[in-house]
């Protein structure tokens, strides 16, 4: 190949050329000497006649180069040499960028995985979640049959079951799905087959189970022969049909189910009788593909005609919520909204961090360019073009930003991988599937390039208006660095950003601290929770309450136990809670629109109030005599009393009605509490005796007389052995209640941690920014300071001259940032409970933090300014 030969011959060409030019000048000089010039004169004249030898040689060589590629390579090598010369600057810049770009990549990785990336199913763009409050199974059947907008509609509920493969029964999380589920999602099995709509023939007709790939991999060791074998689910025989493909985990991104079973077998598995009950709304999510050509708006109109049909046909059972559509992945709008808002906010903040980093590096770069002004001027004077110098500068900034971007990307990939395998709640198969993909890499690259250009562009102006003659004559202080307005603005912006971050992280931390010590309406300290699902252990009917009573009695006998109670679902336990519509005593038409309220509903045993630490304000707690033979009774909270009964002091003794029409007498009044999440407003709640409304899945609450904070495991072990003594086959999860509450604090914790990290980074950036500016201004004005000292300036005056500007900028930036931060925390209050910007401690904290940052950053430059020795200074020049 021609060009390969060229590469090898190039060196020869270059040598030939130099030799040729040397001989040319020599020949010309000899000629001139023959014409009578002196040797020295002749050589000079010959050179002058030849022109700029270096430039011409370079231009001749360029003929042979791939012009762009090779000169870029030359620039890169030059830039590397320059950067190596100032390794401190280089490492500071790379570290800053790595942090800033890394933070952006992490936040974008999460945003991308949870919101931007389409769901990992075929044709995800036409897949929608159909939202309708909560639906019953008959509602779903009607929807499926009557809608005209969807190809088909699938539904699923989530439950826990005991899976027995012959050895070691264990709890599994199952999706109970409509038979058409896999077909609606257009998924093919990894091995075996899926169940289909054609497998369903009425209740309990499809005892089939499909394993998730992960469960098959972990519990069956990729054994292909399991297909066709029979396992026991809650003691009932089910046949394994097949295995779902790897990576498939349904339409909810953060929930990884272990197995899939047909929903028609729900009653068999749970022991409930709710499959055909229209008033039991327990469907978790309804999904379907829109038919081609149908818009979401048309689909919603169609769905709401189904809704009005349902409302007309079943006025007593149907709720008021209209149909809406949402993107799948985050359980519709329920999590999509807050997650999207929070991640967008974080993305914005980390974008600001990057911008601050660019501002920071930009001013460093400008300072560097100013310091190198003499070199630049010299190069300009020697015939280098301004383009060439700018290109060299941009090469430097891009090299830095690419190195920083690469380092940041590596760090963010590691972090995202860790996040992906992290399970924040031990009891739930919840995780954050945020493994990075190509778009994360692309974003990091683009961010690196953009920031490289951004901070590279800062000194461009300086270089373009540089006048080599002036600079070479006057020295570097003459032309550059007198007017630093752009850099001042950059610094103020950067400090403001930092102050925003510091403010919001402080508000978040304070809110978190307060919410951890707020009144939940119960006392999680010194209490243990044991999650017992008796249906999983094979108990049904009359045996359930008897067994529940036996467990409570046995646990109460443990020494050191104060009290024991049961509740069907503890308050503040994710993912939700039970609610039941109630009516005033005078209401006769019990349709949903006439309901007085939809309070939280807890089915509890007599000991619950004492065990949970819920204080009884009036009346009595339940007794074991409040059973199915006794009149129906309830304990309500204050909010319930004032909202539904109309009076708090006289609440006890009044009546209200449940949805099934039964009259309930209020026998007790308890304090208000938090039920679903910490940010909710005050909600009504009612407690019914477990014996009057039985449930097979209950949580035992065990209160200890001793302080459990140090050693909860001792009590846990005692509880375990007592319960195992009653039934060895029981699946048990025993944890301190305060640990269990970690789940509800998870969003605020995440918010606090991420804001804290960003705040810290913002703080670091403004330290380096202020430091850079202060150090630079001191070093530039060293001579001036020396003269001031020589003329009798006091220490205070010197400091004012040297650092006054830095402090002024710091004050402006902090002020702006504080105001913006306080405005921003109004948004924060939705995520972090009790986050309020009107907190004197936060205000003082921000001011203190910013002052501390300023002092820290100006400490060294101040020392340097004070050390000015006018004698030494003036002697130097």
């Amino acid at each position: 190949m021609d060009w390969i030969a060229q590469i090898f011959r190039r060196r020869k060409f270059s040598e030939d050329l130099s030799e040729e030019i040397r001989l040319h000048i020599e020949e010309r000089a000899e000629q001139l000497m023959r014409d009578g010039m002196s040797a020295e004169e002749a050589t000079r004249a010959a050179r002058r006649a030849f022109g700029n030898r270096t430039l011409l040689e370079e231009r001749s060589r360029e003929v042979w180069q791939w012009p762009t590629l090779e000169s870029i390579w030359a620039d890169v090598r030059f830039a590397l040499r320059q950067l190596r010369k100032s390794s401190g600057f280089t490492s500071a810049a790379v570290l800053t960028l790595a942090l800033a770009i890394g933070a952006n990549a992490v936040v974008f990785g999460v945003l991308n995985a949870l919101i931007l990336r389409p769901l990992n199913v075929p044709q995800a763009e036409s897949l929608f979640v159909i939202q309708h409050g909560s639906d019953s199974y008959p509602d779903y059947l009607d929807l499926r049959q009557r809608n005209r907008s969807f190809d088909d509609v699938a539904v699923f509920a989530i439950r826990q079951s005991g899976l027995d493969t012959g050895k070691d029964p264990s709890n599994v999380w199952q999706y109970e799905t409509s038979g058409n589920y896999f077909d609606v999602l257009r998924i093919q099995p990894y091995i075996g087959r899926f169940f289909h709509a054609s497998d369903e023939h009425g209740p309990d007709s499809a005892p089939y189970v499909v394993l998730s790939y992960a469960y098959w991999h972990n519990h069956f060791q990729d054994d292909r022969t399991v297909v066709g074998s029979v396992v026991r689910l809650n003691k009932h025989p089910f046949t394994i049909l097949g295995v779902a493909p790897p990576g498939f985990q349904g339409t909810i991104l953060f929930f990884a189910s272990d197995i899939f079973v047909p929903i028609v077998n729900h009653d068999q598995l749970s022991g409930d009788k709710i499959l055909s009950a229209r008033e039991s709304r327990w469907m978790f999510e309804t999904v379907g593909h829109l038919k081609p050509g149908v818009t979401p708006a048309q689909a919603i109109a169609d769905l709401n005609s189904v809704d009005s049909y349902l409302k007309k046909s079943y006025p007593k059972e149907e709720g008021n919520e209209p149909y809406t559509l949402a993107r799948p992945g985050l359980h519709g709008d329920y999590l999509n909204g807050p997650t999207r808002a929070f991640l967008t906010g974080l993305m914005l903040l980390s974008g600001l961090i990057l911008l601050a980093a660019c501002a920071n590096l930009g001013s460093l770069f400008a300072a560097r360019a100013a310091d190198r002004s003499r070199e630049v001027a010299l190069r300009l004077a020697l015939g280098s073009s301004r383009n060439r110098i700018l290109r060299a500068l941009f090469t430097e900034s891009l090299l830095l930003s690419l190195a920083g971007g690469a380092a940041g990307l590596v760090a963010s990939i590691l972090l995202l991988r860790r996040l992906s395998v992290w399970q924040p709640f031990p009891r739930f198969p919840l995780h954050v599937p945020v493994s990075p993909d190509a778009s994360v890499y692309l974003v990091a690259l683009v961010l690196a390039l953009v920031s490289g250009v951004l901070f590279g562009i800062v000194p461009v102006h300086q270089i373009l208006r540089a006048n080599p003659y002036e600079i070479v004559k006057a020295g570097s202080t003459g032309a550059f660095g007198r007017r630093t307005t752009v850099r001042d603005v950059l610094l103020v912006v950067q400090i403001a950003i930092c102050a925003v971050l510091v403010t919001s992280s402080m508000v978040a931390v304070r809110g978190l601290l307060r919410s951890m010590h707020s009144n939940f309406g119960f006392d999680p300290r010194n209490a243990m929770l044991a999650d017992t699902d008796l249906a999983t252990a094979g108990y049904t009917g009359e045996r359930v309450p008897a067994m529940q009573r036996r467990m409570i009695d046995a646990l109460e006998a443990i020494p050191g136990v104060d009290s024991v109670g049961s509740v069907n679902w503890p308050p503040l336990e994710p993912p939700g809670g039970w609610q039941g519509m109630v009516y005033t005593d005078t209401t006769t038409d019990l349709s949903p629109s006439n309901a007085a309220a939809d309070p939280y509903l807890y089915n509890v045993t007599p000991g619950y109030f004492r065990a949970s630490g819920t204080s009884l304000l009036a009346g009595r707690a339940f007794t074991w005599q409040d059973d199915t033979n006794a009149p129906r009774v309830a304990v309500v909270n204050r909010e319930f009393a004032s909202k539904i009964l109309g009076s708090v002091p006289d609440a006890v003794g009044r009546y209200f009605k449940l949805h099934d029409g039964s009259r309930v007498r209020v026998v007790g009044l308890v304090e208000d509490g938090k039920y679903l999440n910490l940010t909710e407003g005050q909600k009504p709640a009612m407690f019914l005796p477990l014996l009057q409304s039985p449930a097979s899945w209950t949580w035992l609450v065990v209160r200890s007389k001793r302080d459990l904070t140090r050693d909860p495991q001792q009590l846990a072990a005692a509880m375990r052995s007592v319960l195992r003594g009653i039934d060895p086959a029981m699946v048990l999860a025993i944890r301190p209640w305060s640990t269990e509450l970690g789940g509800i604090l998870f969003p605020s914790r995440m918010a606090t941690v991420s804001l804290g990290v960003l705040g810290l980074m913002g703080g670091m950036l403004s330290i380096t920014g202020i430091f850079g500016m202060a150090a630079y201004s001191v070093s530039k004005r060293f001579k001036e300071l020396g003269i001031r000292v020589a003329l009798g300036a006091q220490r205070k005056e010197v400091l004012q001259a040297a650092l006054g500007r830095a402090f002024k900028l710091l004050a402006i930036g902090s002020g702006v940032g504080l105001v913006l931060g306080l405005l921003g925390t109004k948004v924060l209050a939705f995520i972090v409970y009790q986050a309020t910007p009107r907190d004197p401690l936060v205000l003082a904290g921000v001011v203190l933090a910013m002052t501390a940052l300023g002092l820290l950053a100006t400490w060294i430059p101040a020392r340097r300014a004070l050390s000015v020795n006018p004698l030494v200074m003036l002697r130097e020049d």
């Binding site: 040729e20 001989l23 011409l56 001749s60």
Partner: protein, 123 residues
């Protein structure tokens, strides 16, 4: 002043019409092979010293011609016993100038007409 600087750089970088120097080199080499110094002498003499070409600017042009394989170069000893790199026109180079000259002449004619609207071209 920066403006002056800029103007100077521009003047240096643009030797003549683009391609004019190459054409003159080829035209000279067509008669006899020569080395760089001789070529400069030749061009200046032939133009009655009207064309004051910066001597060095010959070399980038020569490299362009070498690359296009219109000339080839060889180290030789000159008649004055001096080591010189002699350029010789190739067959390809021989064919080239005719079309270029004619297009150049047309351009030159156009320019002359614009500059001296009264005069007719005598050639």
């Amino acid at each position: 002043m920066p403006v002056v600087n800029k103007a100077m750089t521009e003047a240096n970088s643009r030797d003549l019409f683009p391609g004019a120097l190459e054409m003159m080199i080829l035209e000279s080499l067509r008669r006899v092979p020569a080395h760089g110094y001789a070529l400069v002498q030749h061009i200046q003499q032939r133009s009655n010293n009207l064309l004051q070409v910066e001597e060095g600017s010959l070399y980038p042009a020569l490299q362009r011609l070498l690359k296009a394989k219109l000339v080839k170069a060889e180290w030789q000893l000159s008649s004055t016993n001096r080591r010189v790199r002699t350029y010789q026109i190739t067959v390809r180079g021989l064919r080239r100038p005719e079309q270029q000259i004619s297009s150049f002449e047309r351009m030159f004619e156009g320019i002359s007409l614009v500059l001296n609207p009264g005069k007719a071209i005598t050639s």
